[in-house]
């Protein structure tokens, strides 16, 4: 017995530095991406070494299962201290009481891109070290060959110009499809990448003045015009539909199967390697209400059940340093959250090959509806975009989506609005 006590004492002493620090758990969605994990681990080990109160411990999950994991953990009462959350989901989790407002020092978020700060009911719940943006990937040589005007941030394509460009590219006969939208990825990509088109037409997923109905916004004249245009992309054979081969989405543009590709900045580096100076990142077309693209990517937040919210907030504040923001950007091609971090990066510093994405994000970035009901609204948008692409009646499909969204809002007592 005595020996055992001595042994325990020795063990305790030898691990003394570790138990002086309180452990904080961090769940992250990036399993399967070694670069992402490596950068995050650097931030964590720097943080753990920088002070003696907290020790962050990382646990990674695959992105596809991450949201379900968090919800299941919350229902079971097992949330970690620090979570990461996809921007548009944050209001749902904050409303449900999974997340606590951040305790950041004054001025931490100065100069952050608007899409990287997650605010719900006037409190900041989450902050992203990066934003994401989509652009029309195109090749200068292809556009010039076909006599298509190269749009600029100041003067993007109009809707008619864009449609004419698609027709010209299709008629050239050199491509399987004029445009690749990425229809195979039936997840959050749909509302993120396609609902800004709807907003550019003048519609929206939900009436943002009240957040209690989608009537008029998602089935009004503007939305029907969007739906008819959307369907025409597929009936005219401009773009591959929902059964697109995922492999073609990966390499189709680079292989020359598609003339244009609606794609995110996180895929820009690969295309840049293939085409170099010939590659263009074009802004979204303007369908009448300004060109728009999605905003807000993955962000860090603190769980409501954490016993150490101060420590969790301290870690998040630590991670917002320019050098880490720049490291994520360099490693993963993401848009750095601040201009000062952008200057430290290869691609986003002024004049860098991807700097246009920073401007796109700043000028055109539009948040998806900031409401706890977004989770269901997003699913309805995915369904309607897929159904309309597959030939469903536009007006009826939009009405059905409105009814489903309104019923959900009612079931939830207007989500507190």
């Amino acid at each position: 017995m005595k020996k055992l006590a001595v042994l325990a004492g020795i063990l305790a002493m030898s691990t003394a530095p570790a138990w002086a620090q309180t452990e904080l758990s961090l769940w992250y969605h990036g399993a399967g991406n070694p670069t992402e994990g490596e950068i995050l681990n650097t931030v964590i080990s720097d943080f753990n070494a920088s002070q003696s109160d907290w020790a962050v411990k990382l646990e990674q999950f695959p992105q596809g299962a991450y949201n379900d994991t968090i919800v299941a953990a919350a229902v079971a009462g097992n949330l970690p201290d620090i979570i990461d959350v996809d921007g548009p989901n944050m209001p749902n989790w904050a409303w449900a009481g999974y997340m606590a407002p951040l305790e950041l020092s004054e001025g931490t978020l100065d100069g952050f891109l608007p899409g990287t700060i997650g605010t719900w009911q006037d409190k900041v719940y989450s902050v992203g070290l990066w934003d994401a943006a989509v652009a029309m990937f195109a090749r200068k040589s292809v556009l010039e060959e076909n006599g298509i005007r190269i749009p600029t941030l100041e003067q993007p394509w109009t809707g008619e110009e864009f449609n004419a460009a698609l027709e010209t590219l299709k008629a050239s006969g050199k491509f399987e499809y004029a445009l690749d939208l990425g229809m195979n990825d039936r997840g959050e990509w749909y509302p993120y990448a396609y609902s800004p088109f709807l907003q550019s037409f003048g519609g929206d997923i939900i009436d943002r003045t009240t957040y209690t109905t989608a009537e008029g916004a998602l089935n009004g004249d503007a939305a029907i015009a969007f739906g008819e245009w959307w369907q025409s992309l597929f009936t005219n054979g401009y773009a591959p539909g929902t059964s697109q081969d995922p492999a073609d989405r990966e390499t189709g543009f680079i292989d020359g199967k598609y003339a244009l590709q609606w794609n995110g900045n996180w895929n820009a580096l690969k295309a840049l390697e293939a085409f170099g100076d010939d590659l263009l990142f074009l802004p979204a077309p303007d369908f009448g209400n300004g060109p728009k693209i999605g905003a807000a990517s993955w962000q860090f937040g603190v769980s409501a059940t954490s016993e150490h919210k101060d420590g969790a907030s301290a870690f998040i504040e630590f991670a917002t340093q320019d050098k880490y923001v720049a490291a994520f950007s360099n490693g993963l091609g993401l848009i750095p959250a601040t201009a000062s971090a952008a200057e430290l990066t290869e691609n986003y510093k002024p004049g860098g090959p991807l700097a246009v994405f920073y401007d796109l994000s700043k000028q055109q970035g539009t948040l998806r509806p900031v409401t706890p009901g977004y989770v269901v609204e997003a699913l309805e948008f995915i369904k309607l975009a897929a159904d309309i692409a597959n030939g469903a009646d536009v007006a009826d499909t939009l009405d059905a989506a409105v009814d489903a969204i309104d019923a959900d809002i009612q079931r939830n007592n207007n989500y507190g609005f």
Binding site: G241, T242, S243, N390, G391
Partner: protein, 362 residues
Amino acid sequence: MKLTPNRSLQNHPLAGWSLAGPAIFLITLFLIVPFILAFTLSFTNQRLVSPNPTEWVGTRNFEQLLGVGTLVLEPEKDETGALIRDDKGELSYPRVREFTRNNAEYPQLSGKREWLSWNWGDSRVYVLASDVVFMKALGNTFLFVLFVAPIQAGIALLLAVLINQKLKGINIFRAIYFMPVVVSIVVVSLLWRFIYSGQSGLLNNMLGFLSFGAFKPVDWLGNPATALWSILAMSVWQGVGFHMVIWLSGLQTIPVSLYEAADIEGATPWQKFRYVTWPGLRNTAVLILIVITMQAFSLFSQIDVMTGGGPVDSTQTMVFQAVERGYGQQNIAGGSAISVILFLIVLTISMAQRYLTRERNR
């Protein structure tokens, strides 16, 4: 003291319970308790994520799922009272949405959508449903079961008879036919997505090659007319090996002497199958029919991986909808209600099958 048989462990009154115990415990934990929970929750407005308290809502979830109505529309007429016909000579009808949305004269149709419709003379009859997606899921599930059960059982029996021969290397064939069962259905689904791919899929290429290019490529999973059948064909292929093995075990219980007797009588192979094999497989057939039916009703993974219910709801199924609602839309009550309906359907069908295939000559 002599140990009497009563006192041996085997005859102890608790022996039976202790043997059945683990199974009873697991079945209670994973089947009975969840079902009671689902049954209870289907009468509430339980959410997966919500700070709002759970409330009893009675049968509202079921009414929402199963509500139907009918509407008969007269064709549109011009000022003179003549019927308007379009270029193809088709009659035109007012849009159903004008009656089912914000129309105070038809409160009973509010929120319903077209599920089925057909012409009745010049009028058009619409069957409307409160939840068209669920109705389509219900229809697709039944269609799937109706085709999978006989096709899968039939092919499995054929394969079982084929591999129930004493040939050299027959085990190789047994392994080949059984292999798809061993591979996870998710992996199989992913692979078949490539096979069915509309652009450069294996199936299209093969059919094109075999028909010397006459075959026009079909977008198997992207076309509402072919999507469910494609998934059906794949599901039959994947599950057939399992049932083949059960048939095989049934075949091997049939005494060889019966076949020898049949040979002496000079029976043809068909007669041997009809009068010896088939009656001997009676109990196996009942088992296989019930197992296949239950498995087919739980169609989920293939849908989730290959089509997500699309295109245009042509591959929606009940289990997919239950999961989609419960977890995707965070509507646990709605998902539970679907599970309860599914349970009642499967229970009814299994009991009917049991009754129809019961032993009659006792």
